[in-house]
Amino acid sequence: MTAMKIGVLAMQGAFAEHIQILRDIGVEGVPIRLPEDLDGISGLILPGGESTTMRKLVDRWGLREPIERLIESGAPVLGTCAGMILLSRRIVDGDESVFPVLDVEIKRNAFGRQLDSFETDLVVPLLGNRPMHAVFIRAPIVERAGPDVDVLARLDDGRIVAVRQRNVLATAFHPELAGETRFHSLLATMAADHDEPGEGSAPRRRGSAARDMASGSPGRNRQAASS
């Protein structure tokens, strides 16, 4: 099979950092600036940045509908920080949802201004026992999560900072700033499962696509642990 490509929304924000993490796990990251850039990608990352800016640019360049269709098709999506806001169905105090696919209520700048940005360590049980270093920058928080949403991580005080609902993953923090590859590896595994060879005509063989991919390039050892 051809090498997997994961799109990274490149309107504004830390998209280069995500592309670098994808490179570290042997996956090609493709910057997405126009609808046609979405052709041939197996999954999508919505990076950190300013959500207000990104929401305007997504509409200006006609990306809202094609990205919605991509998510509805079951392709996996990872949103970090501003990306998590874009994926949330309800936003406290204001703006309407951009891609209303995560059944959560989210609060923007939930910790305060830049002076309140912080780093900590978290455990994300789905991704193993090794703690994950998490950088929160003017970060949002999930205030309420619906019944179909899996909570993947909480702060010590119980507040929700990482979730999954079917093919949608989202974190309030920035794995891409801490050299953390496990969320990206999970995304790549989900993407391989989604676009398994045969394009739906053949019976699904879970995990086989991930194995094909693993044989293709080095640096993928963590993926096996997370899948």
């Binding site: 490149a10 309107m11 640019l57 700048n109 940005s117 900590t120």
Partner: protein
């Protein structure tokens, strides 16, 4: 588990979140809302844009904290504010207000001709101007978590900004080509700490985000800065001194995202009305140049 606020990673990290974006100078809450609506990733709260500072003459200082607070309340995007070079008390005041970033800026009249602010002493992150690689690394050594090339603010003329971003990048390329045993002398020549010089030589990039500032007044100017290696742009007078600020602001935002797509650049550049008039650099006396402030 241990939680730490205002770390180097969070300071530098906010600048990473601003990348690919436009930071706009605003002088009122209404300007700030126009900037946010146009897609600015942050605003710089000021009493006067650089073109007006230049015209007014006299001593330019930190803006009125009441104005800065009003702008902070008007928008949800990050708000930056300027302190004079070396004026660490202005910086303390801005930190107390809770601004998201402080610009230790040559656009204001310097308060100290020998020492920049020791930015490590602050919880709030700083951005500083530079004209070349050595100046960038000196500011980073003092604790700047973001760099911008200076250009010549308030002129609407991109020529100095081009000179400065080219100087930074050619400096980086020259370092990357050196042998390790040549880096000690390179550090001496750059007048910058050896550790930072070695880091740049090995990674081929600055350790913090670098934007271009000073003279950007059209979408094409913004895209030129980006193609020359900027990671985002500051636009000062260029927006609110143009005929149709909201439109110019939107166009510069679009051009910064699509900086390498001439078809889109052509499209967003259409019918914008007059940009700010601008100044020919040769007509500005040496004493009136802002970029030479700082060292």
């Amino acid at each position: 588990m241990s939680t730490e606020t205002s770390t180097w990673a969070t300071k530098k990290g906010l600048a990473q979140m601003l990348k690919g974006g436009v930071i706009m100078d605003v002088v009122t809450a209404e300007h700030a809302r126009i900037a946010e609506d146009a897609g600015a990733c942050a605003v710089m709260a000021l009493e006067r844009v650089p073109a007006d500072i230049r015209a007014a003459g006299g001593v330019a200082r930190m803006s009125d904290p009441a104005l800065i607070e009003e702008i902070m309340h008007a928008v949800t995007i990050p708000v930056m504010a300027k302190a004079r070079i070396g004026h660490f008390v202005e910086a303390q005041i801005l930190e107390a207000l809770g601004v998201d970033y402080i610009d230790e800026s040559e656009v204001l009249t310097p308060a100290d001709e020998s020492f920049h602010i020791d930015k490590h002493q602050f919880k709030v992150p700083f951005v500083c101007g530079c004209r070349d690689l050595g100046e960038a690394l000196r500011r980073i050594a003092e604790g700047a978590a973001m760099i911008r090339t200076k250009g010549e603010a308030g002129t609407g003329n991109i020529v100095e900004a081009v000179r400065h971003i080219r100087a930074v990048h050619s400096g980086i390329r020259a370092l990357a080509a050196k042998r390790d045993d040549e880096l000690f002398t390179a550090a001496k020549d750059l007048q910058a700490p050896y550790e930072l010089v070695a880091e740049v030589a090995h990674t081929g990039r600055l350790p913090v985000v670098n934007f271009v500032a000073g003279g950007i007044s059209t979408p094409a100017d913004a895209a030129l800065a980006m193609q020359l290696g900027a990671e985002g742009v500051f636009v000062g007078s260029g927006i609110f001194k143009s005929d149709d600020p909201a439109r110019m602001a939107r166009a510069i935002v679009q051009a910064t995202t699509h900086y390498d797509d001439p078809r889109i650049l052509a499209d967003v550049s259409k019918g914008l009305g007059a940009p700010m008039r601008g100044l020919e650099l040769a007509t500005i006396a040496e004493a009136d140049r802002l970029a030479v402030r700082g060292w």
